[in-house]
């Protein structure tokens, strides 16, 4: 069971999987830090109290949806509309949830519940890339790895929101922090383009998302993702047919 590297380090396989997760999650500090700070600033500007802004960050723990909700609250939208729009932004996570089932479905229910709470873009894509690369990884190690990835990101997300609330407008716009997020996501997804089917799926996702960009929060992305998955599957089936 024990891998040779884990034996050398005197760690159990689950522990070494956890630390591998911590190592792979650490770079996201670069993105989560500024993004969380920005949320603290925006939420305070909008008129939320410290407790409310922190409540958002700890209970919802999904940056894009939090920004969407606060934006609509500033515009005094109806409560139902705020909720619908912000939750629509998070619907992509239902796809993440489904895609983790083959890897983590047999883990104990309480661990799956903890993973669900921590299942955001960074933890999801980092973990699923590892699971794909190492199909032989046992389920307890997969769970430990997921928690490892979340470990450097989550406390920082909470802490830097607090810094943003307290620091207020002291963060200059010239830092152009807005572009850290796209760069991180692009860098994460490009290594996963490992076949023509994956490239076709990514291309379809971009085309449909750009065409539907004016649809209300998140819905264009959902349609784009659905079309992209079907495209990827069809191209893969076509390639398998040709290979025979």
């Amino acid at each position: 069971m024990t891998t040779s590297t884990a034996k050398k380090a005197g760690l159990s396989p689950a522990k070494s999987a956890f630390w591998a997760g911590v190592r792979d999650g650490a770079p996201f500090i670069l993105m989560a830090g500024p993004f969380a700070t920005l949320f603290g600033v925006v939420a305070t500007d909008a008129g939320l109290t410290l407790a409310q802004a922190m409540g958002f960050t700890v209970l919802v723990i999904a940056g894009a949806a939090q920004f969407a909700a606060v934006q609509l609250m500033v515009e005094n939208a109806s409560i139902a509309f705020v909720l619908l729009a912000a939750l629509a932004v998070n619907l992509r996570m239902a796809m993440y949830s489904a895609s983790l089932v083959p890897y983590l479905g047999s883990a104990p229910l309480w661990k799956r519940a903890c993973i669900a709470y921590l299942n955001f873009d960074q933890t999801y894509i980092t973990s699923v890339a590892r699971y794909e690369a190492r199909p032989e990884m046992p389920v307890p190690e997969r769970v430990a790895y997921f928690f490892g990835v979340a470990t450097p990101i989550t406390p920082l997300w909470f802490g830097m929101t607090l810094v943003g609330i307290l620091a207020g407008k002291a963060i200059p716009e010239a830092w152009a922090l807005d572009f850290i997020l796209p760069i991180m996501f692009l860098a994460m997804v490009a290594p996963m383009l490992k076949s023509l089917a994956h490239i076709a799926a990514a291309g379809m996702s971009m085309i449909v998302a750009l065409a539907l960009v004016d649809l209300p929060a998140g819905t264009g992305l959902l349609i784009a993702a659905g079309a992209a998955m079907v495209t990827g599957a069809l191209v893969e089936i076509w390639m398998e047919g040709r290979a025979k």
Partner: protein
């Protein structure tokens, strides 16, 4: 903002519960029951189906420039994809993108002074 304190907390609580339920949905309900193979095939494309669509509008029509396409951001995004694709390593891609982005901003800031 004219919501009462109760209303604000209601929004936060429902968003928190709703977001958790979305994330728990399949992983929580299906558990280790087998899924049909065509569903598994679709799901294996989830990362490459969601993230490019999420990022494309941010790259082409960035909020920071009020939706105007910005050559610097396009270039930085292109470098990020190229480098992380070739090296198969996200960190190198992030580094290449950041250096391109802040490097280009720096050069553009310096140009008027050189004239």
């Amino acid at each position: 903002m004219n919501y009462s304190t109760t209303e604000i907390w209601l929004i936060i609580l429902i968003m928190g519960i709703g977001t958790f339920l979305i994330r728990f949905s399949f992983l929580g309900m299906i558990g280790d029951r087998p899924m049909p193979s065509f569903v598994l095939r679709l799901l294996r494309f989830t990362p490459v189906a969601v993230l490019p669509g999420m990022v494309a509008p941010l790259v082409l029509w960035p909020a920071a420039t009020d939706g105007q396409t910005d050559p610097v951001r396009l270039l930085a995004a292109g470098m990020t994809v190229l480098v992380s694709f070739w090296t198969r390593n996200a960190l190198w891609g992030i580094l290449a993108g950041a250096v391109t982005f802040y490097g280009a901003i720096g050069v553009i800031d310096l140009l008027p002074m050189l004239r």
